[in-house]
Symmetry: D2
Subunit: 402 residues, 4 copies
């Protein structure tokens, strides 16, 4: 980085830190209370739109988009990694900055693999935060840890595709603003069955309100339904889409896109997770100073000190690993050059985040498992990261000796 770039990044970080601490975190409770009352699934709490206006005003909008793509602010993978950690401290800051999953990944896919017409159709609204999108990959009937199992059927009829399948964990699909699905499915037909296993799947752009789409139900994560965003189970029954408008990159190239989507996306995900875990550690330390047991504040008990120390050591190590991965992705210009690093952070970070948050819960006692802090919900969501996009058991073996 030149020193002008460094200064710009430092300024962004400072601005973002203040925004997250002073505006987003205090608004979390407001959002939550709104989300508990009234029309939980049909209304987005107003505070979100206010925060989005603030983020735009502060120049904290669409920071995720890599240089060279529409809407970019010219932030590199490494720079965005640092910003992601700060955003991740708050459960609502990413959305406030239009940097929340799965929209970020979806916008990157459009920018990288979409045709001009596809980009024109969807990107402006997404980049403005007017609509949202979902990514329909995982299926209830197949072990998604092995993504070649994906069975949702795509068949071509002339200039149309017909899609039939059942998806779940489609985060954001129930959001009242959601308009676009990116759907991964398997091409039907004998010629496709004969192809190599990673060349049978296709990704399609499917308008969320297409005939044949049913939002079956909202999945809960350890009791949290995350309304109004939520995690949907969705069926597609003979959903028809125009081939030109829908086909991304090419038939049979779904895995190619999935792979490209994963690299920087995982860096973002991991940095947000570390941000949340850092917030948990801050809460742990604060609590341990305030609370007295057996005549001493908790922070003077060796076991609590060890909890703090272990957390600090694990978080610092994990962050170094993610930042190193970000630098390698940047240098190699794609996930290919850092496959092992991407696999490593996928395994390391969710485990570290869960461990740190779990310790913070323990030190908070009963307060830690209930709605009085962000900790229990944070744990629940971090726990899903050990499963999402393939479990530890699948990622770990990728990490073979250099």
């Amino acid at each position: 980085m030149t020193s002008a770039e460094e200064e710009k990044q430092a300024h962004r970080l400072r601005t973002l830190e203040a925004f997250v601490e002073d505006e987003c975190i205090p608004a979390e409770r407001v959002k939550e209370i709104k989300a508990r009352t009234g029309s939980r699934w049909s209304e987005v709490p107003a505070v979100m739109e206010q925060l989005k206006l603030r983020a735009r005003a502060l120049g904290l909008w669409n920071l995720f988009m890599p240089p060279g793509h529409p809407g970019t602010q010219g932030v590199s993978v490494s720079q965005y990694a640092a910003l992601s950690e700060v955003m991740g401290r708050s459960t609502i800051a990413p959305e406030a900055c239009n940097c929340s999953a799965p929209d970020t990944g979806n916008m990157e896919v459009l920018a990288q693999y979409g045709s001009a017409a596809q980009q024109a159709a969807w990107l402006p609204d997404l980049l403005e935060g007017r609509i949202r999108s979902a990514f329909l990959m995982t299926e209830p009937e197949t072990a998604s840890s092995d993504a070649t199992n994906i069975a949702c059927r795509i068949r071509r009829f002339g200039d149309k595709y017909v899609v039939t399948g059942r998806k779940w964990w489609s985060t954001g699909a129930m959001d009242p603003r959601c308009r676009l699905f990116i759907v991964m499915g398997r091409m039907e037909g004998a010629e496709w069955d004969a192809r190599p296993i990673h060349q049978r799947h296709t990704m399609l752009l499917v308008p969320a309100r297409s005939p044949g789409v049913t939002l079956e139900r909202a999945l809960e994560v350890f009791g949290y339904d995350d309304a109004p965003h939520g995690h949907a189970e969705v069926t597609l029954r003979g959903v028809e889409v125009s081939a030109d408008a829908a086909l991304l990159l090419g038939e049979g190239r779904g895995f190619e896109i999935a792979q490209g989507r994963l690299g920087p996306g995982r860096v973002h995900h991991c940095m947000r997770a570390l941000g949340l875990a850092e917030r948990a550690l801050t809460a742990l330390v604060r609590r341990s100073r305030e609370r007295i047991a057996f005549g001493r504040p908790l922070c003077d008990h060796d076991m609590v000190r060890r909890s703090i120390a272990d957390s600090r050591m694990e978080l610092d190590q994990a962050r170094h690993l993610v930042l190193d991965c970000a630098r390698k992705l940047e240098r190699s210009g794609g996930a290919k050059g850092a496959m092992m690093e991407v696999a490593m952070i996928k395994v390391v970070v969710p485990n570290v985040a869960c461990a740190v948050i779990d310790r913070a819960i323990q030190v908070h006692g009963g307060m830690g498992v209930c709605q009085d802090t962000f900790l229990a919900a944070a744990y629940a969501h971090m726990r899903t990261l050990r499963i999402a996009d393939g479990p530890d058991e699948v990622s770990a073996p990728v990490v073979l000796q250099r």
Copy 2:
């Protein structure tokens, strides 16, 4: 045991196993659906009353009550331990058998420490399952890991006590059937402050609907509110109770009761937890046989096999430890004779249960964290056991070398 007793116990176990597997577990979903709709906090799903009738008819009622006490079925601590494990497999079987916390502990306290009048006032309705009760110990403002911190104030005025304080995690206090609170508080007055730290607290029987009692709110456990039973935050503002009717055992003897309540209660708790964890392991194994990834069922992957093996080894060891504790409690006729064992199972079992359930979640993937199985809620509740009644960090050091 004589062989007649052995046969009786074997019969009870078989009957209970069938009841739990064939009637309770299938009813869990029914209860849950009911509890999600309509008047969540004011109505108990009808299926519960039906199961209670069945349990009575099958002779599976009030099994927890030790020999020599009202309502007892003559089941020893060790025998009840085995029955608890079976009940624990289902989240609703304990209530169906009138053997659910905190009523069991409360009934034992009444039976052991209550006057004849106190017993007459409360025990019949509790033993019949017509009313429920809560135990008001933990407080939001103090570190309950050190119970001598308990600050709820009790002051004597003539033949009355006036109680003022704030309690939380009062499980069952919001249940529409709840009528009785057992409240732990600290005696006010200089003469009490001068007493040894474990002789300042008193336990009182407080009618749940006394003037001055406010149910502030329902606490959630990782997103679950457990309606209609729930976990309440309760304030007592100048609540007046008649001294004779309220005072348990004697002023300043609260810790004595708390201690007595803990021994067998922990055995029950732990065995229920192991039952739930065994159910999780059964689910893990079943899933691992059905699900295919990378060309083989999951149970043919070494990592999954190791998960199963570790779970089996941990559960078997933990069970042996609890059963050994039960035998020692039985032999010594009280918690005093098995203090170390009681501390050990308090630490070991919740950790093992969490570990096993967590592995089962992992093998279930996305299904494991949502409402489609009992696993996520089971994890959340087992997690609280590492905190309730004192965290690991407090219990572990009790376990000093014999």
Copy 3:
């Protein structure tokens, strides 16, 4: 047990405890010093023979031999388990009581599978402790975790077998008193290659000083050579033995013997390991009371208390598991009835023993890793148990869900 048997067992335990604490443990240092000087490999320190005389006089001789076999003292598997734990506290007590591996397993094999002539040839001297024996199973060239890999060749010529192969970790083979090897090898010939994989191996009795036997070298365990007993690498080059005198049970039945040898043997091994780990915990506690750091004895530091608590919890659980395995072996009259339990203790106990001893080393600081305590050597030897007879990775998967 009848009460007479119980009294007898209680008496044995008391006698053994006194013998181990008052005579064996103090003699360890003497033995070690002797073993460090003079003819390390050709002389057994005299103190061993003195202890053996004492053990015989005290009725503590050959306790391992199961009822119904030559030399038995009528001790059941469960009873011997309890005695093994006590013996295991001292590194020399098992030999003092003629109950040390590998002789115990070898004597059991002779008693169970040997012909009358084979028994007559070897058992009297072994039972008297006049000679010792070794078990030649593991090989340097093959992964012994999968015992079907064993490649030492056995070929029949008329009434002779000729054995050629290389073995290692032949514990005791270098002992100046060693006279007998039990050798596992694979039958040569096409008809044998066609047999099922577990029916190709044979066990032979081979006199230790047969022509063609070379003791290649002593293997060290983390720097300890365990002279004069030691762990040998042995080559057999065309070693000829008389078929009648050598063949155990039958050609191709080697795995049958190996399996039978494993059940009770593992119980013994595990209980001895627990005894040693208990001694380490006693040392840990004692040291933590004597040593002052930061103004308090170590035992007043939470971390040390947690070390003690974890050790106590792990040891008690492991012991319950082993004793349960012993009862099941007894009841089923063979390893078949308790395969899973035998696999579980194989994994659990060495890991627990290593963990406990490692904590004891940590609390001893520099003293813990050097020759001033038994701890470092104890750790080294316990560590090998995670490898010997198959590593954790092989045993664990045997533990499938019941």
Copy 4:
């Protein structure tokens, strides 16, 4: 770094890598065999002197010395960190490059705190590798985890100090080339007792062969005596030294020196440990590819793959942490600016190194615990790092939240 510096460092790394792999590692066995025979404690195997000549010729001599000090090659802390990792792969490379503990730390102390006369007296011979030195800190009678316990007495008489005490773990004190001790002791006298606890100790230069010095014995590390270098127990009985020649920095300033010695020293130590652990991982991977069990090479078993992955993830994270610490030390110009980082690497690295080497041992089976690989000795020595310079339990709590 300028690009000329970068090129220089890259060249040094390449040269060192070749020297370590091609010359040092093959010579380890030679050195070991020599050290096992003949006059173990009085002779240094000749191969060491040959390697030292080679290292000098290759410009790999005294790389540790920081810029601005005598003998320096101008290598920064970060650069030396990278070089340390490479040297650490071989157990003899550090000595070959005159970069082995405790001489490196001792030379740094002389360079930083020694008077001109003291430097002239000792540095040339040390820098040439003609003599060696020891650091006498730890004592058998006191818990050295709390260094203020150090009790060796120093009393001033006119222009002399008299030193009396017992030290142990004085690594290298028995080396036939050892000429200098740096001794930490406590000033005697009431005025010293009145001082703050960290201002009572003094460091003295004591000629190794002073009257009153006795080398009591060699301490073993898990059975390894590390002759001829070794770890000595040393008594000093009324050892007299000239005050001018002996006093380092000033009376009562011992802790100041100890602190300064620790920062970069720990970085070196940790990087060497990571180098050794990397070598263990390389061995693990190689072995897992060669060895077949259950029909597949070990590296195709999930558990082994997970071992490799965990090792890779832990090593990479630990290395990032140490390199970050090195950069902070460099930037702050002293240990003060990176106290937390220095504490963290002290805890993290030995644990990671032990874990990785332990896994490598497991995959090697019996070969891993004996003298056929470097693994068992490596484990033993890494294990001592969890104790040396203060155990984990002391270092961890230093790591408080930033």
